[in-house]
């Protein structure tokens, strides 16, 4: 096993990108290898030279997404100011939603379907991560620095609201008249989300 060639790297990347796009908008079963290969600029047999099967493509891109999806949650600093920490985290997640909407939708699509592939990951790594962060939040609550709310539900709410802007983009565009494409929309949305969530958890 030698290092992958330049062609290998380029093609694998092109396939992954095309796959995220196709899987996220058509769903696992709706996406076809042909369409992914087309979008990646190669023939179907050529694509299958790089990935052995459709399912492996799916697993591969899903794993990549999960890794980058997870990273920002890991950085909650228990010694910092809770409201500012949450502001930073929410802002980051809003930006991720705006930057990689396909990735968000692919993850959503997998979970919607009952997370057949990610179930194990969710039950182990994500679970312990959430428990970990919930402890930090609970510590802040115990110190009176945060209003008393169930920390796990707070985490769910942050995920729900931030990811909503990517996952339900079609609905948001329809209702706002495609405002979400305009520059500044994301800032406006972040404003609103931050205002409500942070006021919602500020101790009173």
């Amino acid at each position: 096993m030698s290092k992958p060639s330049r062609i290998q790297l380029e093609n694998r990347a092109a396939i992954a990108e095309a796959a995220v796009s196709e899987f996220s908008s058509r769903g696992y079963h709706g996406a076809t290898i042909d369409a992914i290969a087309d979008k990646a600029g190669m023939s179907k047999p050529n694509l299958l030279y790089y990935f052995p099967s459709k399912e492996v493509i799916y697993r591969t891109v899903l794993e990549q997404i999960v890794e980058e999806w997870l990273s920002p949650l890991m950085t909650l600093d228990p010694t910092a100011d809770p409201v500012e920490e949450l502001r930073r985290y929410i802002t980051l997640k809003m930006r991720m939603s705006a930057d990689r909407p396909h990735a968000s939708r692919l993850f959503a699509s997998e979970v919607l379907a009952g997370a057949p592939i990610l179930k194990d990951f969710l039950e182990t790594r994500l679970k312990s991560l959430v428990e970990d962060k919930a402890t930090i939040l609970q510590g802040w609550i115990d110190d009176g620095k945060l209003a008393p709310v169930d920390p796990v539900h707070l985490i769910f709410m942050i995920w729900a609201t931030t990811q909503h802007y990517a996952d339900f983009e079609a609905q948001i565009d329809a209702v706002t008249g495609a405002q979400s494409k305009k520059p500044g929309f994301n800032e406006q949305a972040s404003q609103a989300v931050l205002s409500i969530l942070l006021n919602g958890v500020r101790p009173r």
Copy 2:
């Protein structure tokens, strides 16, 4: 055209229920007529005697869902207390999420895919409904009865958080250790959501 017989009504209902279940967990393309027919307790040709095609089944159940999904938003009373009105609405949506998770997920799946079927509905009826309710919310804000937040984003946040409990059930179950099946979980979730959202919009 005479009235549908008892058999017609029963079978159409059984098919619709099976279809919601299949479409919501497998997606449009992943669901098969065979599986829907099986779940509805009949053969595939028999199912196709009641619905001419897969797409018509899909459209039919989606329309039913949209109608019931829409109804609770219509009842915001501008003369009532804003926080209490929002509490009522959020509670109702949380209950809907818990009662009809499949329906919620089917709707989510359609919007995730770019709302190919519902686009028109979202751009017309839902849009004007949102504009309508946003006006009511803005009125409350102008009266100082609600914190100044963009009303449209507030509506999005309510949808996001409440539907999250149905749409991401797999993730929530994984992270909480299948707590969501236990009685009382929905009350606890409602508590947290209400606490954060209502405190978030209460004027200060």
